[in-house]
């Protein structure tokens, strides 16, 4: 006789399971997102990224991400070709300004405002919610502010030489003979790549001399780049060269060579951006790193804005304007995770201060980072010129022009006149109605 108990039990079990499946919450539908990202994973500053992605995948296993990483200028070249064909990925790196004009102007980037509730926005530094498009669009949630001017101090060398933090540029210049006599460089700075003198120095000096209100007017053509604030700002750079603040051959020195000089204890001060903190931490010995301090660029004669720096929104991933339904929801989950609390905490752990407001007491923030956070929270921020003005005028005329001024081949007034002429004839800011 056959035993019917086992099949019967199996049938009962199958019914129970089927019933459970019917009443259980439906499993999330798998979604695949293509992500085209400007990132160099070999760069130590990108170490936070694989950790962020892993944390996201753990939380949302149903969202599959297909990454393509391209770094530097090649990123834009390939993306321009994609944009021209009208076929762009679901998510991609985007800047909040002219640098991404080739996709922003074509309406290919989703305006995130429908997703941005007031409670969501409150968690961030309000500076990132400045309009990014002509109708107030917000395309990116910038994870960090790119603060472009910070003076780093080697306090050990400073003490050895009996120096103190300079309050004014003239005080800094007065320290030069003593520092040079000790066989050291006063202010490490490299400008071989040309953009540094404009982004890290001229932008801040222009803000000090004229403020953002003057710059807004200059962008619109209501003020001119031949005006005193801009000419004076360029003249300060020339003065810094003439007084031998910078290393000899500053225009032949690459950025890493300049901050390498500082890390090797060959320079008392370093002029660099805020994002250099993590690189300094990685390169210096812990003992040396503990002696570094971050201060504001000293006061400049004739300045109207005191103690300011210059900053722009860091780039971030943006959404394809065509995304709808499940894909759009998944993309928003991804963006709000990587730029939200979880992602920002990872970023903070890797040494970058995020725009998301965090309780810094929770983190083991080192002394330089603490000083940096305190510094940027105490400063007003001017514009970074290359984030506001058209790339061709800045990169083809202004940046090389600053080098020519530094080398004595052009006067500040001459460069200002040449730049104003270019802007008046070509810059998109002057063509806006």
């Amino acid at each position: 006789m056959r035993d019917h108990r086992i099949p019967r039990a199996a049938a009962v079990l199958a019914c129970v399971l089927a019933g459970a499946a019917l009443f259980a919450a439906p499993a999330a539908k798998p979604v695949t997102l293509s992500v085209y990202m400007q990132n160099d994973l070999a760069n130590p500053q990108s170490a936070y990224w694989p950790v962020t992605v892993e944390a996201f995948q753990k939380k949302y296993p149903e969202i599959k991400l297909e990454f393509e990483y391209v770094s530097g200028e090649a990123y834009h070249q390939k993306f321009q070709a994609m944009a021209a064909s009208g076929d762009i990925p679901d998510l991609f790196t985007c800047y909040a300004g002219a640098r991404s004009g080739y996709i922003l102007d074509r309406g290919m980037v989703k305006d995130l405002r429908p997703y941005l509730t007031e409670s969501f926005k409150k968690s961030y530094n309000p500076a990132i919610w400045q309009p990014q498009g002509p109708k107030g669009e917000i395309y990116i949630i910038s994870p960090n502010m790119a603060v472009c001017t910070v003076v780093y101090v080697n306090t050990k060398l400073q003490k050895q030489l009996g120096l103190s933090n300079p309050k004014t540029l003239d005080e800094l210049v007065a320290q030069v003979p003593k520092i040079r006599a000790a066989g050291l460089e006063p202010l490490a700075f490299g400008n071989k790549a040309q953009w540094q003198a404009q982004s890290l120095l001229l932008s801040m000096l222009t803000d000090r001399m004229g403020g953002t209100a003057w710059f807004d007017q200059a962008m619109k053509g209501q003020a001119k780049f031949t005006d005193k604030p801009f000419v004076d700002a360029i003249a300060v750079i020339k003065k810094m060269v003439d007084t031998k603040l910078f290393p000899a051959g500053v225009n032949q020195l690459e950025g890493p060579q300049a901050w390498g000089m500082f890390v090797q204890g060959k320079a008392v001060y370093l002029l660099d951006a805020g994002w250099r903190v993590s690189a300094l931490k990685g390169a210096a010995t812990p003992e040396d790193y503990a002696t570094y301090a971050a201060i504001a660029f000293p006061a400049v004669a004739g300045e109207k804005v005191h103690g300011s720096s210059a900053a722009t929104l860091g780039e971030a991933l943006a959404m394809n304007a065509k995304l709808k339904g499940d894909k759009a929801d998944a993309a928003w989950k991804f963006l709000s995770f990587i730029y939200g609390q979880e992602g920002s905490e990872i970023l903070m752990k890797y040494g970058t201060v995020p725009t998301y407001k965090l309780d810094y007491a929770k983190f083991d923030v080192d002394s330089l980072n603490k000083q940096y956070i305190a510094l940027i929270n105490s400063q007003s921020m001017g514009y970074v010129i290359d984030a506001k003005m058209d790339s061709e005028g800045v990169n083809n005329l202004l940046n090389p022009g600053i080098q020519a001024v530094m080398m004595g081949d052009k006067s500040p007034a001459q460069l200002a006149a040449e730049y104003e002429a270019w802007v008046a004839a070509n810059d998109s800011n002057r063509k806006k109605k």
Partner: protein, 293 residues
């Protein structure tokens, strides 16, 4: 009749594939570039026809003129530096004027086998303010602030790059000359020497006539290569400081792909092509006149 048609068909079947490939990868891009050079276009959005405006602007553009000057300097260093030096080295090695000629041959040939990007990085580490050469000079002279100020000179900033080009490319011409020298039978030279011909006569009467067509080919290679120079300069200086080491190809690249000024960038590329064609025609005319071909 049928035969003629079949002949035509078979002729076309042989010629058409190559013709289509040639048109699509050579003629079309040049024609497209030519058409773009007459426009103002950002790579997207409306295309504005501007006629010859881009070409007119070129010759009053100081950056383009610096690039043109530097390209001419590269042509000069190639034709009057790399080729004669390559010939001299090849002749010395072929005539065994130095010991261990095979080792020298290998050493001289080495630079051309290295990627230009690596060559640029290598020489940057020699010339940079924190590089080997300024460090040695600082040690020797006691001048703690010594740097190679030649890089900051509007007139001479390109000279170190010319030196690197000479260092890197001479070996290519040396190898081409050497390969052709090996075709000259030793017996011919020996016979001349038995007749009392010295080294100078052997070179002038036997070697030079044989190598003249090779020199012509090398000149064409040198001129076309010089006008296209990009990788070494882009990696070494990027055209800086202050555009002093700019060349036309780097300027074209930045204008087109970085500043998205496709019309003006295309005009530069058309001018580069015209310069190459003109220089090659001139070389042909000169060599024909001197009866060197």
């Amino acid at each position: 009749m049928v035969n003629a048609r079949a002949k035509k068909r078979s002729y076309l079947s042989f010629v058409l594939p190559a013709f289509i490939v040639y048109v699509s990868i050579m003629v079309f891009p040049v024609a497209f570039s030519l058409a773009l050079s007459l426009t103002k276009w950002k790579g997207y959005g409306p295309i504005e026809f501007v006629g010859l405006q881009n070409f007119a602007k070129l010759f009053s553009d100081p950056v383009f003129l610096i690039g043109l000057r530097n390209n001419v300097l590269i042509v000069l260093v190639s034709v009057f530096g790399q080729i004669p030096l390559g010939l001299l080295l090849a002749y010395m090695l072929h005539r065994r004027m130095v010991r261990s000629s095979k080792t020298f041959e290998m050493l001289i040939f080495l630079p051309i086998t290295i990627s230009s990007v690596i060559v640029a990085q290598l020489w940057n580490r020699v010339f940079a303010p924190v590089g080997i050469l300024p460090t040695i000079v600082r040690q020797l002279t006691g001048n703690a602030e010594y740097v190679m100020t030649i890089f900051e000179s509007k007139a001479f900033a390109f000279v170190p790059i010319m030196f690197v080009l000479l260092w890197q490319h001479t070996s290519l011409y040396m190898v081409i000359f050497l390969a052709n020298l090996q075709r000259v039978p030793d017996s011919v030279i020996e016979a001349a020497q038995m007749e009392g011909a010295g080294e100078g006569v052997v070179f002038r009467r036997i070697i030079a006539p044989i190598l003249a067509p090779v020199a012509f080919i090398n000149s064409i290679l040198a001129i076309s290569g010089s006008f296209k120079s990009f990788d070494l300069i882009y990696s070494m200086t990027g055209g800086g400081p202050a555009h002093y080491t700019e060349v036309m190809a780097v300027y074209m690249y930045n204008t087109t792909f970085v500043f998205q000024n496709y019309g003006y960038g295309s005009a530069i590329s058309i001018v580069i092509i015209l310069f190459i064609v003109a220089a090659i025609l001139l070389t042909r005319a000169v060599t024909k006149k001197l009866n060197l071909e």
